[in-house]
């Protein structure tokens, strides 16, 4: 499991420098992984959110002004930013008690 996490982390750092600055979030058991997503400032970011649960979720963030429904077992894409340095909380509206996270722009 640890190795897998490390691998996905390495993959993520590789993807950072792809044409569109891409980042991934995974929803599993109504939680976001990672719960803290660190992104660069001043760049438009393509965010891929994969919902591994069978139930739908709604990604919502007042700080980012974003809202998108992600059906069960599917991936949704959306753009955020360019962001100023700071913390931008988000949550899964359908499971707000567990599905919480924050985008940290630095």
């Amino acid at each position: 499991m640890k190795k897998l996490l490390l691998l996905s982390l390495m993959l993520q750092t590789c993807l950072v420098y792809a044409a569109d600055t891409e980042f991934n979030l995974v929803i599993r058991e109504h939680r976001f992984e990672p719960a803290e997503l660190i992104v660069p400032t001043g760049k438009k970011i393509k965010l891929l959110i994969e919902n591994k649960d069978s139930t739908p979720e709604e990604f919502e963030s007042y700080a980012l002004a974003r809202e998108k429904v992600i059906p069960g077992n599917s991936t949704a894409t959306l753009y955020i930013g360019p962001l100023k340095p700071g913390r931008y909380p988000f949550f899964g509206e359908f499971h707000e008690s567990t599905a919480k996270g924050v985008v940290i722009a630095q």
Partner: protein, 271 residues
């Protein structure tokens, strides 16, 4: 239970407020109630269909089907609201008189009814599909909490409808002299707010540039998740951190409909 009540309440509220305003604004239009109910039923049927197709909609248009679909729904709703307001500015007086004298046919009344039907169906469709998805999620997850969460959802639905009804009743108390002015203004702001929402979706899908984002930040002063923030968001399109593109859309729709209303409100015909 409370959690699901709040979610469904939030989703229902916007549609309920729109229906409340439109119901008040079309007071005196013959056959209005039938068309409104038909609109709600149609909207619910559409919601179920959209929820069922959510998986494929998400994948459409290289992952931005949802944004395009919702922006399209908003776009049509804006056109309908614009048509309604421009029509009203020509016929408002007539309807006011009609509240007392019955049995007079209003020219174009039929078309206004189909516009009313479309506005309501679209409002229910947009908010309804998310509610259906949420409730479906609960139902399929099963477990003993599913039942109480479902009841919570129902309570949220009732709460949303109650607020819409309260707005409707409140609006009807406005003296006839100002009534059409007030409802026209509300419809105008509703349309502008929808335009801002559509712009936000298109920026989210990277189909439009954000122009400056955010243009300002009032989230400390009036949080968007507060009760007043939520109400203002639904009614006048309040956004704590709007992008420049949202403001542009808002202004263009506001100005265009106002000009349309000005042009038609000049008394050309007498009834």
């Amino acid at each position: 239970m409370l959690g699901s009540a709040i979610i469904v309440f939030r989703e229902t509220l916007e549609a309920a407020l729109i229906i409340g305003i439109i119901a008040a604004a079309t007071r005196g239009v013959a056959g209005r109630n039938h068309w409104m109910i038909a609109g709600i039923v149609m909207g619910l049927a559409g919601s179920a269909a959209v929820a069922a197709a959510a998986g494929s909609i998400v994948g459409m248009a290289s992952g931005f089907g949802q944004e395009l679909f919702n922006a399209g729904v908003l776009g049509i709703a804006i056109l309908m609201l614009a048509w309604h307001n421009i029509w009203m500015s020509a016929h408002g007086k007539e309807l006011g008189n009609r509240a007392r004298e019955t049995g007079r046919e209003i020219s174009d009344g039929k078309r206004e009814c189909s516009v009313l039907f479309a506005i309501i169906a679209l409002a229910v469709l947009r908010e309804g599909s998310e509610t259906v998805l949420f409730l479906y999620g609960i139902a399929t997850a099963g477990g003993e909490s599913a039942y109480t969460m479902f009841i919570g959802g129902l309570l949220g639905l009732i709460g949303g409808i109650a607020v819409g009804l309260a707005l409707y009743v409140g609006l009807l108390r406005i003296p006839l002299r100002w009534f059409f002015g007030v409802t026209s203004l509300l419809v105008l702001l509703l349309a502008a707010g929808m335009a801002s929402q559509a712009a936000r979706l298109l920026v989210q899908a990277d189909l439009l540039p954000s122009l400056a984002a955010p243009l300002w930040d009032t989230s400390n002063f009036l949080p968007p998740d507060s009760i007043i923030g939520t109400l203002l968001h639904s009614l006048v399109g309040y956004d704590a951190r709007p992008s420049g593109m949202q403001m542009l859309f808002y202004a263009v729709v506001l100005v265009s409909i106002s000009i349309g209303m000005k042009l038609t409100s000049k008394p050309q015909r007498s009834f």
